[in-house]
């Protein structure tokens, strides 16, 4: 996948690539020409004692050297431009693609994996292209050019190239071939050592509480010894590399001298030619070595390219409508008609045959155990997923026909994991309504029971929030996420288990304030605690993706065994009294 991907993304920069090739060729030729000139100096200048020739040839060499450095720099310029542009385009390609993804695709890949793909993987591919442009391109040129030049100098002697090159390839190849698995096992063992350390740091309280330090130390010692063992073996191989390469190079030059001497003796070759031949052979061998080392980078970059391509060729399962509905009556009704959802390839559907509707201005709650499909149900509303069967309607219109922007503007979501973005409290609150006034923000904070702690934060609304909101506590994060949805003033509010980190007092206060504040907006709540949803107009009991009970709290106590079980299980946990 590496080549097609790189090729496709480099297409806009093909002129830069042409420049790279042209200038690399020029600088390769220049560097190949130098030994010939040197040979001329020896054969026509030194051997004949022609000082003037030596000087003029020297001037030529100088000019060519200058030309070479200029060409090299230009080639680097083009190469760096092309490679960095490729990196930029690949990054934005992946980024925009992920932007089109629905939650389904994001969940399939996993956010951390997507992050690695758009950062590290792109970086790897980009570096390979850069290396290729600045170094690898010239390797075959130097190699082939060197062979041509060497053969031109002396055809008879060129069998030495045919021996030296494979010998070097085999020697270096053997070492690398043995090293690759060692590197891999080394990486695993480094990971192992790091895992043990990580566990020791994260579990330090438990380790100390159970007085397990000696056992942890032993575990670590084993991992450390294993790592050292592999590192030793790898290092020994590495230590072999340089001497072996030097040996091959040096032996080749001895061979050139010995066999060249015979050619000179019978008058078919000049001494200068011998020197030049030697230079070319060295250039060829160096080029071969460089190419070998670079080749090691390719498999790694190829894996990265595959991972990037995988993202790029994934079609989002949620597509915007071609003829979108651009107006909704805004009453905030929700309707599920025989809705099912399953992940592709999954045996069990997550949701099966959901049928319900909510009247505008009412509260609907969904309760059920972990894995019953509550969050998936919620995600169908803003089309984070599309139902695989049946239709989801908002204000009587199939969500798949509504202009996505309009649909999203209609919905205020407080997700299960209350993620905050880096910035300030205010920038987070304005996330859904960028022109909200400070008064609006404070009002939302008030309702979300967040006013006090925000006021106490240094800077108030302008207090910094770190990425993910890690600088505020879980409960605070949840309340800020609620306030963020409130600022937006949508027709439908969705709370996905959004009160879990709040203590019961705050939970109760918040729900009271919320009902009063949102007026006739529709409220859709997923919860674990019965107390949170006890006064909902309609409660849906979800189990294994099916609605097994519906009605008010009192009705359900009578009619639904599952609900009764949930309620009773919480009586001990929490006072529902």
């Amino acid at each position: 996948m590496l080549l097609p991907l790189v090729w496709r993304y480099l297409k806009p920069y093909r002129w830069l690539l042409v420049g790279v090739v042209v200038f690399q060729l020029a600088q390769s030729i220049a560097s190949l020409y130098l030994p010939t000139l040197n040979a001329d100096i020896i054969d026509q200048g030194v051997a004949t004692g022609d000082t003037a020739y030596i000087l003029s040839a020297g001037a030529w060499m100088l000019a060519i050297t200058l030309g070479q450095v200029v060409c090299s720099v230009i080639a680097v310029y083009f190469g760096a431009r092309a490679a960095m542009a490729l990196g930029r385009d690949l990054r934005s390609g992946v980024f925009e693609k992920v932007g089109e993804f629905s939650e389904r695709e994001v969940a399939t890949f996993g956010a951390p994996s997507l992050i690695t793909r758009s950062t590290n993987d792109v970086q790897q591919v980009q570096m390979l292209v850069l290396m290729t442009c600045t170094m690898m391109v010239s390797a075959p040129m130097l190699c082939i050019g060197g062979i041509i030049m060497a053969m031109q100098q002396d055809l008879e002697l060129s069998w030495l190239i045919a021996v030296a090159v494979p010998v070097l390839l085999i020697a270096v190849g053997l070492i690398i071939w043995r090293m690759v698995p060692l590197f891999r096992s080394m990486q695993k063992r480094v990971d192992r050592v790091n895992t043990v350390l990580r566990e020791q740091l994260t579990g330090i309280r438990v380790i100390r509480a159970f007085v397990r330090e000696p056992i942890e130390t032993e575990r670590f010692a084993t991992a450390n010894a294993e790592l050292t063992d592999t590192a030793l073996r790898t290092g020994r191989l590495m230590a072999l590399m340089f001497p072996v390469v030097m040996l091959v190079l040096n032996l080749s030059s001895i061979a050139v001298l010995w066999f060249g001497a015979f050619r000179i003796e019978d008058g078919s070759m000049q001494v200068g030619t011998l020197t030049a031949f030697l230079s070319y052979l060295m250039q060829i061998l160096m080029a071969v070595m460089m190419a070998t080392f670079m080749a090691v980078m390719i498999p790694r970059a190829a894996v990265c390219a595959d991972r990037i391509q995988e993202v790029l060729s994934t079609e989002p399962s949620v597509r915007p409508p071609s003829n979108p509905v651009v107006n909704l009556n805004g009453i905030g009704s929700i309707e599920f008609d025989g809705v099912s959802f399953s992940y592709p390839g999954a045996e069990q559907p997550v949701l099966t045959g959901l049928d319900f509707r909510t009247a505008p201005g009412t509260t609907t709650a969904v309760i059920g155990s972990t894995g019953s499909g509550k969050t998936t149900l919620i995600n169908l509303l803003p089309r984070l997923f599309d139902a695989t069967d049946g239709t989801v309607k908002v204000d009587g219109v199939d969500v798949r026909d509504i202009d996505p922007e309009l649909l999203w503007a209609h919905i205020g979501l407080v997700p299960q994991k209350p993620y905050l973005f880096s910035g300030t409290v205010a920038s987070n609150l304005r996330y859904g309504k960028s022109d909200a006034t400070d008064t609006e923000l404070w009002h939302a904070l008030e309702v979300a029971q967040a006013r006090d702690f925000v006021a106490a934060m240094p800077g108030g609304l302008d207090a910094p929030i770190s990425q993910g909101g890690t600088n505020v506590s879980g409960g605070q994060r949840q309340r800020l996420a609620i306030a963020r949805a409130l600022v937006k003033r949508p027709a439908i509010y969705i709370f996905d288990d959004s009160f879990s980190a709040l203590d019961l007092t705050t939970d109760a206060n918040l729900r009271r304030a919320l009902r009063a504040d949102i007026g006739d907006a529709t409220l859709f709540i997923v919860a674990q605690r019965v107390s949170t949803i006890i006064d909902a107009d309609q409660i849906l009991v979800l189990e294994h993706g099916e609605i097994v009970g519906r009605g008010s709290h009192d009705e359900l106590l009578e009619s639904s065994e599952t609900y009764a079980e949930i309620v009773s299980s919480q009586l001990t946990a929490e006072e529902a009294a």
Partner: protein, 706 residues
């Protein structure tokens, strides 16, 4: 507010955003060509840190000396090579020239003849050569010389290899010891150190930094030694061949340094900027992907894309600059090398032509000059590597230098162990403690936990509940006062002895990567399979483990995604159960565990609590009504103590807390009717248990209200 409590709350919500493994930079490893490493972080005190790092090699003194000797021998051999090879060229050259001369004439006659015919230059050139006119190349001599070179080169390679072999061992063993020291240190550090340090930062020190030290030590030591030796050897050889040419070649040194410094400085700055932009962009990507659904639902896709594009363009500009400027270094160095090459070819050619030098020597010289520029530029790049290595070493040393916890008492006291369950009396006697000197937290606290009693601690976040646990476990040392266990001051016991008597279940359900069996067995070393199973059964672990395909051999992975949060909690309870402690500390979870699992958790906890002195940090008041003593804490003080009913009657802080929690509409009748429903459906066993729970709750509530 204490940092510990914050950390605990963090994990309890289970809402920490997914974060990829910490890494210093997005590049991962260092590329083989150093195409764009992280900007070098400057060590604070380069000299002393380097010295200390080198000092760690002391146990390897013998090896290091051997390495030096081997390297010297290897370099001498490899440096002599070109000179000897040059001799070979001389033999060929003079042989070739002699072949053009009439056989039988002497060298003097030929020179005289040349001068007579006006070819003075040729005569000058031939003068220093050893040749017999007409003889041609002396293959015997050439063979001898080349065999000598062959032997030299083979030996040079062998010694280089030996050198690398021995050095590799020394470096790896040194790193092994460094890791070992870190591990020992981690065990000796007080918990306060871990609470104060950011976990990611600490993790990066013990992983990335050590890796970095290892890499730079490995590379710099072996290369620096041979590079410096080679430069010295080459300079000596060059001067011995021709001081004039040597002078020309030495001009490269300042030139090389100049280029490296000028370009290096510029590229360093650009790399810093590239790095900064990479970091920013990656943070943005991370944020957008993690908050993907929010970006959508809040309709921010367009803005997000625009911001990304702007950042991406900035990165493009920065990285192009950095790569271009750093990419110039290579051609520039090649250029310098070629300049020397040209200069030597011309000046050398002139010198050979005028008989001041032999051709083979010029050829040798050219080889030397090539050998010379390479290690020079290597030394340049090594300086960067070393700098970053030393900076990492410095951070590791900082960790190694951190204050350790006070050692256990020399003659440790031990509380008497009583098997009859009478043990476990824990007394706080005028305890004062603060995390930071200027922030009072717990002041003059007195508290008695009688053997077998359950003590519940309630209070708002930051009241000092978790701190109390830290003190009982002696994770932190008191500022004044004392805590006694069965009459013995815990400060005089060894930590291992004290903690061996304690059992702890935290909100943070930490399990390590291993099987469920191993995780339970963690509670007590040497527990038998039967004991493990018994613990699992008593704490309801057995039930769900049986439903897992691999049972007790199920491996819990890093994030333990294969079992639910509640189940994890059950395993931690089983672990504590197995430990059979005399005092138990339970920190209740508040996270949204599946409510039916939570019921099991509650039951398991009460099974664990029976007949043991237990401290329960309660978040839900309902679970602690039957505690023997409820302690209400506010701002580090105990504001109230008593039983549930007594405290409710008192109408103080506890009363207010209690009422605040249970303002929700009543469903009292519903409770019993739920039970009836279950009975009807012939679920007698569960209903029975449930009825017990409900009735007990009922009585307690009535008591409270009365």
């Amino acid at each position: 507010m204490s940092t510990t409590e914050d950390a605990a709350n963090e994990t309890s919500t289970g809402s920490t955003p997914a974060q990829p493994a910490p890494q210093r930079g997005p590049m991962g490893g260092r590329g083989p060509m150093g195409g764009g490493g992280a900007p070098v972080e400057k060590p604070k005190n380069f000299g002393s840190s380097l010295k200390r790092l080198m000092g760690r090699l002391r146990p390897e003194s013998f090896q290091i000396i051997s390495v030096t000797i081997l390297a010297v021998i290897g370099v001498v051999f490899s440096v002599l090579g070109p000179k000897l090879l040059g001799e070979g060229t001389n033999i060929i050259f003079s042989g070739a020239i002699s072949a053009q001369m009439p056989a039988g004439a002497t060298k003097a006659e030929v020179i005289a003849g040349l001068r007579a015919s006006g070819q003075d230059q040729l005569a000058d050139m031939i003068a220093p050569m050893q040749l017999t006119p007409g003889e041609g190349i002396d293959f015997a001599a050439l063979g001898t010389v080349l065999l000598g070179v062959l032997a030299l080169y083979v030996l040079a390679s062998v010694f280089m290899w030996l050198q690398g072999f021995v050095l590799n061992g020394s470096v790896q063993r040194t790193i092994y010891r460094l890791r070992e020291d870190i591990e020992t240190k981690l065990n000796a550090l007080p918990l306060s150190y871990f609470d104060k340090m950011q976990r990611g930062e600490l993790l990066s020190r013990v992983t990335n930094d050590i890796d970095n030290v290892s890499q730079s030590l490995q590379q710099t030591l072996s290369q620096a030694l041979t590079s410096i030796l080679t430069v010295i050897g080459v300079v000596i050889m060059m001067f011995s061949i021709s001081p004039v040419l040597a002078g020309v070649a030495l001009v490269t040194i300042p030139l090389t340094v100049l280029i490296t410094v000028i370009i290096g400085k510029r590229s360093q700055k650009l790399f810093v900027s590239q790095w900064k932009h990479t970091g920013e962009l990656n943070a943005r990507i991370e944020e957008t992907f993690t908050g993907h659904s929010l970006v959508k639902v809040f309709g921010r896709q367009k803005e997000t894309n625009a911001e990304f594009t702007a950042k991406n363009d900035e990165l493009y500009g920065a990285s192009f600059g950095a790569q271009f400027v750093s990419g110039i270094i290579m051609p520039a160095m090649v250029f310098v090398g070629n300049l020397v090459y040209v200069a030597i070819a011309v000046i050398g050619g002139l010198m050979v032509a005028s008989g001041q030098m032999l051709l083979g020597d010029v050829q040798a010289f050219i080889q030397y000059s090539r050998q010379f520029t390479q290690p020079l530029s290597q030394l340049g790049s090594m300086a960067n590597l070393l700098q970053s290595g030393v900076a990492s070493a410095e951070r590791v040393f900082e960790l190694l230098d951190a204050d350790e916890q006070s050692p256990d008492a020399a003659a440790p006291a031990s509380a008497p162990l009583k098997a009859d369950g009478g043990s476990g009396r824990l007394v706080f006697d005028d305890v004062t403690f603060r995390y930071a000197e200027d922030k009072p937290l717990i002041e003059h606290l007195n508290l008695v936990a009688e053997p077998g009693h359950t003590i519940a601690i309630v209070g708002p976040t930051g009241a000092g509940k978790t701190t109390l646990v830290n003190l009982i476990m002696r994770f932190y040392e008191l500022n004044s006062g004392r805590i006694t266990l069965d009459g013995v001051d815990i400060a005089t016991m060894t930590r291992a002895d004290l903690r061996g008597r304690m059992g702890m279940v935290l909100q943070d359900t930490w399990l390590f990567g291993g099987t469920i069996r191993d995780n339970i067995a963690y509670g007590r070393s040497g527990a038998t399979e039967e004991e493990i199973l018994a613990a699992a059964k008593a704490t309801y672990v057995d039930r769900f483990v049986r439903s897992l395909p691999d049972g007790y051999d199920t491996v819990l992975d890093d994030e333990a995604g294969n079992i639910s949060a509640g189940e994890k909690q059950l395993i931690t309870i089983a672990r504590a159960f197995l430990a059979q402690p005399s005092v138990l500390i339970l920190d209740e979870a508040t996270s949204s565990v599946d409510t039916r699992t939570e019921l099991l958790v509650q039951k398991a906890m009460s099974a664990l609590r029976s007949d043991r002195t237990s401290f329960v940090i309660a978040h839900r008041l309902s679970t602690i009504r039957d505690a023997d003593l409820i302690v209400v804490m506010e701002n580090g003080h105990i504001v109230e103590q008593g039983t549930h009913s007594a405290l409710l009657v008192q109408g103080g802080a506890y009363y207010r807390l209690y009422n605040a929690q249970f303002e929700a509409p009543a469903i009292e009748e519903a409770e019993l009717s739920a039970v009836e429903t279950l009975v009807e459906r012939d679920n007698a066993e569960r209903a029975e248990a449930l009825r017990g729970e409900v009735l007990r709750g009922e009585v307690a509530t009535e008591e409270g209200i009365a």
